[in-house]
Structure formats: C-alpha cells, structure tokens
Point group: none
Chain length 209, copies 4
DNA sequence: TATGAATGAGTCTTCATTCAT
DNA sequence: AATGAATGAAGACTCATTCAT
C-alpha cells in the first residue's frame, strides 16, 4: 500500500471512529458534519470525499457493529458445551444462548444499543438478517443455519420465519426494558422472554415420524 | 360554546389535521412549522399558542390515533361470537382477533403505520400500553383485562408481561412485513405470527387444578 | 373617586409596580410586555390602554424614583444642623450632605442604581435637573436654590453650571465604583470625590468686596 | 499575504465598517445581523465566522475607536509647545489640552460620540482607562503617566484617582452638552469645565517642601 | 373598559454543501 | 487529494400590537 493509500485509509478510519463516538454519545441528529470532522482532525471538505452524508456513515457503522457482535456470539456458542437433554432441547439451548449473548452485550453497552435502536426502526436484529451493500457476507441467518446443521435431527417447519419472529420479539422487548426498565426490568423480563422464545421454537419443531 | 371557544377549537383541529397529513407524507423531520401553519391556514405564532413544538403535536397525534384504533378493535371483539372450543381457546381466539383487527387496520393505512412506527422508538403498540399525559383513560391493557374477565376460568401466569411480549412481537414483525414485504409478505407471516402468539399464550395459561 | 376610577388606578399601579420589579431584576430589554401584564395580573391589551410601550413606563418610573429620592435628601438636609465655619463652609457642607445622602441611598439599593444608570445614558442626576412631561414640579435645582437662599452671603459665579458639573461628576464616578468597585471602591473614592467637589464649589464662590 | 488571507481581512473589514455605520445611524438595538451582512455584501453565515454576535462587534469597534482617538491626542500634545508659567501650570495646560483635543474630536463627529455614549454604560472615557481584551496595550493612563514624567517636579497626591475623576467629569458633562446643548451649549460649558478640572488638579498637587 | 387570541414580521442561528486554492 | 472559507437556505422562536368579543 502506497503512502497516499495509507493516508486515505487513515482519514477514512478517523471519520468512522469519530462519527461512531459522536453518534453514540449525542445521537445522530445532534451530530453535525462539523463535529465529525473536527473530532477526526480533517477538513470539512474531506468528509465529502468519503461519504455522501452522515446517514451513509451511520449505515456503515451499524452494519459493522452488528456483524462484529454476531460473529462473537457465534464463536461463544461454539466454545460452549451443550448436552443436557435431546437434540431438540440442545438446539433450543443454543438459540437461547445466542440471543442471550447478544442481549447481554447490548446491555453492557447501552450507548451502542441506543445508537442501533434509535437509528434503525426495524431494529438491530432485523438489519443483520438482510443483505446490505456495505456488509461483508456473513449474516445472522447464516450462523443460525450452521447451528441448525450441527443438530441434523431437528426439523423446523419454517426456520427463517421462526428466526425472524424470535429476533423481532427479542429485539423489541429488550430495547425498552434495557434502556428504560419499562414496563419491567430486563432481568425480570428475561425468563419470560426466553420461555416465550422456547414456546415459539417448539411450535416450529416438527414431530419426527 | 362561545364564538371564541369555537374558533380556538377550529384552529387547534386545523393544526392537528395538517400536521398529521404532513407527518405521514413527508415525515416529521422534513416537516417545518412553516409547512404546518401554512397548510392549516393560521399564523406562525398561533402554532406556539397551542403547542410547544412539533414533537408535542406528534405525541398528541400518536396517542389519539392509537386510542381510536384500540377502542374500535375492542368494540369489534364484543360484536363477534366466539364459542368454538373451551374457554382457554376462546380467550386465545379473542386475543388473536384483537391483534388481527389492529394489524389489518394498519395494513389498510400504511401511511399511518409509517408515521407511528417511525416516530416511536418503542413502537406504536408499546405506547398504547402506557398511561400518557394527553391520553384519555382507557389503555390497551384495560381492554385486555376486560376480555380476560369475560373468561373467568382462564388463569394467566403473568398477563401483563405476556401482553407486552405479544404486542412487541406483533408490532415489530408486522412493521417490516407490511411496509416492506420483508423478509416475507404480511400475508405469509400472519399464520406463523398467530401461531407464535398462541404458543406464547398457552405457555402462560396455568394448568387448572 | 368612583369605583371605575378606582379600578383604573389600581391597574395602573399594578402595571407600574410589576414593571419596576422586572426592570430592576431582569433589565428592560429582557422584560416583555407579556412579563409585565402577567405579573400585574391584567390582560395584554390593558397595557396599551395605559402606556404606549415599555419605554414610556420606564421613563415614568425613573422620574418618579428620582423625585422621591431628592425630596427625601432635601428633607434630611433641613433636619441637620450645620454651623461649623463660615457661611461658605456651611454651604459646601450642605451640598456634600445632599450628594452624600443620595449616593448612600443608591448604594443601599444597587438594583435601583443599575436600573437608573442602565437606562439613562446621561444618568440619573442629569434627568432630575430637567423638566419632564411626567414630572411634578420640583427639581433638584429648585431644592438647591432653596439651600442657596438660606445662605444669602454666598455668591456663586454660575450656580446652575456648577451644580451641573458636580452632579455629572458625582453620578459618573459613583456609578462605576458602586456597581463594580472599579477602578476603586466607592468608600475609597468618596473622600477624593468630595474633595474634588469642594474644589469646584470654591472656584465658583466669588470673593466678597 | 495569500489570496485567502487577503479575502478574509477584506470581509472582516467590510463587516466592521458596515456595523459601525449602522450602529451610529440606527443604534445597536435597531440594527440586525441581516442589516449588517447586507450592507457588507457578505452572506449571513459569514458574520458568524468572525463574530459571536453584534455585541462582540460593538465592543471591538468601541475599543478601536477610543484607542485611535487617544493616540492622536497624545501625539498632538507632543507637538505643542508649553512654557507659560511654572511646571505645575504646564502640567495643567497639557492635561486640558489633552482633554480638549478629545472633546473637540468628539464634537466634530457627533455620530461617533452618540454611538459611544449610547453603548457604553460606564462611558467612553472610562473605557479608555481600562485594559480590554480586544485592546492593544496603550491606555490613556499610560499616556498620562508619560505627560507626568515630562514634568518631574509636579507631585500628585493620587494621580490615578484624579484622572478618573477628571475623565468622568469631562465625559459626562460633554456628552449631554455636545449632543443636546443641554443644559447649556458645549462652548459655554467649556471654560467652566476646564476651570473645574484645573481646580481638581490643583487640589491634588502637593505643596513642595 | 377589558380581554386575550391571533397575527406575522423580525431575529438569531445552524449547517450541509460548494469551490477556489 | 485536501483544505476551510464562504454560502444562503432553512428553521425555530419571540413579541409588540391589533381587534373582535
């Protein structure tokens, strides 16, 4: 990589980094291009060499953040030992573990949750399901299929829709409870949420012949 | 009502009406006070006689819209005959009916759905669960308790959290499917959504002694 | 006085009183008609039945305040016994006493001093010298002539200009020292100020034949 | 100086110039940012690149104007020959000359005087005594000490306070007479004012042993 | 006389975007 | 490629004043 290329990458990263910090701290609407470039230490005009506007930078950040999170969640599932009960039960446990890992991470980093939830109406989970122009190739659904493949005796009626429902439920329910303890605390919600998710999973597992 | 009072109400309504129309068409951020008062045919200063800013007007509109919708849903439940199966099944059916009515209304009026979903981070459904300063007294949860009372043999482990989970699920899942047919169409989602909701309800119904 | 007249006077006084309080607390520019009428407990339109604008009310207040102050100062001079030295010295002492009384009153009520000095470029003292449409008939200069008459052997070269110079000097010098201790404290200034005033008086006293 | 720098200076000066003209003509309160930038031929946003608000521009103008005036007055004192009488008399004459020069300049430019007197509660002369953030370093008091040093046999009891008193007196008395011929004309006032100033100076000159 | 709802001009201020250097 | 001065549209909000009741 030439010196020029290196310099460009450096500026790009400075812009991404300062944007992320500002978005997460002040919120997107309250962050101006001026704020971003000042924090990044580049000139105003430079911003426009890399991004169309701040919403483009936000989209890139959201995708990047989501992917990183899911990759880590998947890696943690792999490390864990699941063997209590039958394969259906193991699959259920793995799903809950995955969801729980992500939610706990978001709980630890509320600013990140706020940033993600505030700026994506459909929520963080949903986005990660979709293909996206900035995205690299791996999606939550791909990880999920891998988990599924590891338990070949489990048959789901409609795995994609099931995951969609679970993700929407977990996302929507945890946003308000984590951020506002409303209507109950996240800790109180958790057992009920996971019990509901298990109920959904079971209703999707087809009886073996 | 005196002439003055009449005139005041007229202005208030003109402002609410033009705001609503602009919000659902252009979005809140893209709507200026200038737009609102111009459409309403009143002076700029008049706006500030009735509202602090456009977010106050939005909140009032959201609450008003949500209440109207739920009241109608509840009325429709009352008209309908439910008698297939045991009381638990009847309760399930009534819940699904209620949800379905609201979702169908939102589907008919996508602009309203968009407006509501875009402007309430926690979602339209969630709001309706809570008390609110602009709100009259009846809430979704109240309607729900009424429905519950009509089926006194049904015992729910935790009716409030159950409703919260159902509402978050239905809300989140239907927003993206209705507005963007993504990842599937709303029509395809429906049976799966309702089946998931039934699974959640059943997991909350306590076994009779 | 009829009931209507009484009511009118009451409103007028309420407006004057609330204006004064707001002017000395927040300053004139920061006080709106809305503030005044709200504090006075009358309607906005009522303000315009009594005053053209807030500057008219300010002028009336300034004159009223100044007159009251000078009347009191003159009364105090009358109570005091002056007999040390010759008539010229007694006249000098009376003048200093008069000035000192007014300055001490202003020092006690800095808000009043601020209000007067901020809103009259030429200062409080100067105004009181002039005839004014809202003013009743007695002016500082009239009091001064009375003092002069009590000491008939004293001959001043130009009493009016002398008083003008003294008043401007005392006013300007005390404003900044009382309000801001700048460049020295008022207490430190006083002996120097009064010594300067005495020097001016002496230079105006004509030698008797 | 690069083209950019040159252009910046040009804009800054255009803003200062148009502000000054508007302030002295209409008064500060009646001058809007819109007026200023329009007259300067720059965009509204440009104003905020150079100044926080119109009060900052006013302060800079006042200081700039005052400094220029006093520098010129001092230079004129240096050019003049003073030798009539003893050193005390020469010192007196120089002081009067200095004051007179400034007052005559203000008389020539009544708009400037009006602007200065209206917008500085403590008075224009007073300002010139003080250090100020926009100011370069030389102050009236510095010039005055120089004058004093040129006459080493003159001993003043308290030169700083004496100057303060003289300046306040000259400032306050001349504002109203120059601007409004009130209560007498400036020309009529002058001999009396200077005689008063001489009386003050003499009362500060300490008797030689 | 008194009211206070209504007005809309006026003001400040921010900010994305452009473009000459 | 990078800069940052300049732009000016756009927006929020205030407030003295009017006038129908």
């Amino acid at each position: 990589m030439g010196k020029v290329e290196e310099n460009k990458l450096q500026k790009l990263n400075a812009l991404l980094k300062s944007s992320y910090e500002l978005f997460v701290t002040k919120g997107i609407a309250q962050t101006s291009i001026h704020d971003i470039v000042q924090k990044a230490g580049v000139a105003k005009g430079t911003f426009y060499l890399y991004f169309k506007d701040k919403y483009e930078i936000r989209d890139r950040l959201v995708v990047k953040t989501a992917e990183r999170l899911f990759l880590k969640a998947y890696e943690e599932v792999q490390k864990e030992a699941f063997h209590e009960g039958d394969t259906a039960r193991i699959f259920e446990d793995k799903t809950i573990f995955l969801i729980d890992y992500v939610l706990e991470e978001l709980k630890k980093n509320k600013l990140m949750l706020q940033f993600l939830s505030k700026n994506l109406s459909r929520g963080f989970f949903h986005l990660a399901l979709e293909s996206h122009e900035y995205s690299s190739e791996v999606k939550l659904i791909d990880y999920y299929y891998k988990v599924l493949e590891e338990n070949p005796t489990v048959h789901l009626r409609n795995p994609e829709i099931m995951l969609f429902l679970i993700v929407e439920l977990a996302g929507a329910a945890s946003f308000s409870t984590i951020l506002e303890n409303d209507p109950i605390s996240f800790e109180e919600l958790k057992p009920e949420l996971y019990s509901a998710i298990r109920a959904i999973i079971r209703s999707h597992i087809e009886a073996d012949k």
